[in-house]
Assembly symmetry: C2
Homo-oligomer: 419 residues x 2
């Protein structure tokens, strides 16, 4: 029986000659994301992986249904596996708005889903680190959020040689469009042209811009020389105060296709340009109001960073540590007469927070030792019967090969003292 | 907009006058489960939350569909949100069987789903700690697994006063049934009667037993006086060697309704009998073979422990710690002239793995201090301009009220030395 196309199994560690994913790799990303979010004072939340389809169509319109992993449930509800968590976040915040002083700094690491019929071989799920600030209208929030994004990438050993945040603003484009007499109702379709400007043929872009009464030259010139808006200047100065200026550059080509952004937008890219965007986000001041049906009106902004591109980038840069579950001690039971006493020792060690494994059944000594090595144990520990009938323990550090003889009751402390 | 019935939102911490769940509570359970599984040398894995319906009907028959959160996807596949992870585990192990030496000790903490139409107000999802041992046919595996189950509950401060593992075996009942000439094809329906014997009216049980040619007295006598089978004796002796005998008692009334168990079965119950089973499991030696379509044949056993009953039990016993996200330091910015320098200090602290928050915008000093208290910060830190123009930092321990004046560069070390 096979798993569904587009889904991943997570084995404990990477398997040779196999493309299966590993939970150790996933946990490695999650742990650093979580740690960095906490350093920035962000609080974790989660929401259901299944939500009413309406939550997503309210935000993005009916077309989004083509990309949703959606269905009708047994109660005749139109439901969808979540394609993003931001609408759920808006729902949560609006529901208990009065309980919270603003701004809120919240994060989550949801698994997200999509289903586009035509896309074979593409993943239909991924995990995404989401961080959002709710209730702060000024650019100090953008600066705090972008600083978190930068540090979340630096946490993996990535430097300004490896990635850059490209910072932009729909506000800047709005000024440009106003100066060029493009009416507001055309702005969204204009953003879609800018969103594709790096990948689309130049002639095609030129044609499309003409329909707005714009020349490619004027757009190119704005991208090249457009001055930062006051809010972008404030963000850049703020990040500079934190010593993070090297990680950001102004780039008006970044516009983010999604219609719901209302101001500053940004994306993180690898400097070599080998990968898709590592992360992206921006300000979306209308969403909470929309989702709460006008009951709660809060400015908001956030970013999302997926596990797939980041993992590939870290692999490419040699920044992944060995991804295998660790073990502190492997207990060798070479004399079956000592199995009962060994079980008692193992229990004592586990009670003392030592990770211990052993062979459940009798096994030749050399095979037990091999298992110890294969399980990446730091130590082996073995009970031995002394001539006077008492027991002693032989504790061996597998890296240094240092060996100690101890009373069984001293083993736990000897191991915990190692740090 | 509302969430779907039967699903939970997870807010950062419990909210007063509200029944919403908290992610801090969830993370508290997950962290201890994970830690204890690792102490026992179990490796983590995960599988997709969505699987082909066939994976579950193969194991449990067509009737299971009534309980599944299942649907037809856009590619016309019959799929289901997972009601359990064991069939996925069997699939994973069978797919890479050759890579692994046996036995495998694996664990996972999946979110599971079910949808029974008639059950209003009941949760349709929960999280479950699953631990399984694959590839070991003898009772040493049961002992290791049950020891992990006991320690996973002791990890929360629960003692033998609080819970007990009720240990049973389908093998024992098979002997009883053979002695009473009940043919094997009736065993499954007999197990369903035993499964309900504690809750069903005595007369009803008596009637049902008659249909197998059995008297209620003989069944009662077997439950009361039936001797432990050799495998149960071995398990009890093994747990006794670990000092865990107090946590287990033989109880042949435990049978586990699910048809797929093949030998030893067990359940964990609170001693006061106020809650449903905390955990349950047993041996299922035929599942891997069944799921792999006879390609791989491996004995297996496992248990599952849900988050809902355990959380309620811990709450009832006063064993939940304060569930709020912590913060190490709150930076007070009382002089806006010092905001830039404060941002720089905050960055230095965060770089040094200190969790720091601050007011993004100017705020009155007393309000900032209130925010520090509300965010459960251990310290406040505040920059001050000295008469000679240099800066110093005032670090205040909010619990001890001890205050120190330091150079800004010394703050990180002063905080990290606290432990």
């Amino acid at each position: 029986m096979e798993r569904l196309p587009g889904f991943r199994d997570f084995y404990p560690e990477p398997l040779p000659h196999s493309d299966v994913s590993s939970i150790e790799g996933r946990n490695f990303l999650f742990a650093r994301w979580r740690e960095m979010a906490r350093r920035y004072g962000f609080a974790e939340y989660d929401a259901p992986p299944l939500e009413p389809v309406e939550l997503y169509t309210t935000k993005s319109g009916q077309e989004i249904v083509n990309q949703l992993y959606c269905f009708t449930d047994k109660g005749n509800r139109e439901v969808s596996l979540r394609p993003e968590i931001t609408p759920s976040l808006a729902r949560l915040v609006a529901a208990h708005n009065r309980h919270y002083k603003k701004p809120l700094k919240w994060f989550s690491i949801p698994q997200l889903f999509r289903y586009e019929r035509q896309q074979k071989g593409r993943l239909r799920e991924h995990f995404q680190f989401n961080a959002d600030i709710i209730g702060e209208p000024t650019p100090v929030a953008e600066a705090e959020l972008i600083a978190l994004l930068i540090d979340s990438l630096r946490a993996f050993g990535l430097t300004s040689e490896d990635f850059r945040i490209r910072l932009s603003s729909r506000g800047a484009w709005q000024q440009f469009l106003a100066q060029n007499q493009v009416p507001p109702e055309h702005h969204e379709s204009f953003y879609l042209v800018i969103d594709k400007i790096e990948r689309a043929p130049r002639e095609q872009t030129e044609q499309q811009l003409k329909s707005f009464g714009l020349s490619l030259e004027s757009v190119d010139a704005f991208i090249e020389n457009g001055a930062p808006t006051p809010d972008l200047e404030q963000i850049l100065a703020n990040l500079s105060n934190r010593g993070l200026a090297d990680y950001v550059r102004l780039d008006y080509r970044v516009i983010r296709g999604l219609a719901y952004y209302t101001g500053v937008v940004f994306e993180a890219f690898d400097q070599k340009g080998n990968f898709r965007a590592i992360a992206g986000g921006g300000r979306y001041d209308n969403l909470v109001k929309l989702i709460s049906n006008n009951k709660v009106d809060l400015p908001a902004l956030g970013f999302g960073m997926g596990d797939v591109v980041l993992f590939e980038l870290l692999k490419d840069r040699g920044l992944l540590p060995p991804l295998a579950p660790g073990l502190t001690a492997y207990c060798l039971i070479e004399d079956e007469q000592l199995r009962e006493a060994s079980l008692s020792l193992i229990q004592t060690l586990r009670d003392a927070n030592v990770q211990v494994d052993y062979s459940l059944t009798p096994l030749k000594p050399d095979k037990q030792f091999k298992r110890a090595l294969e399980s990446h144990a730091e130590y082996t520990v073995k009970l031995e019967r002394n001539e006077n009938g008492t027991l002693s323990a032989r504790l061996r550090n597998l890296a240094s090969r240092e060996e100690k003889r101890l009373a069984p009751s001293e083993v736990a402390q000897a191991i915990s003292r190692r740090a």
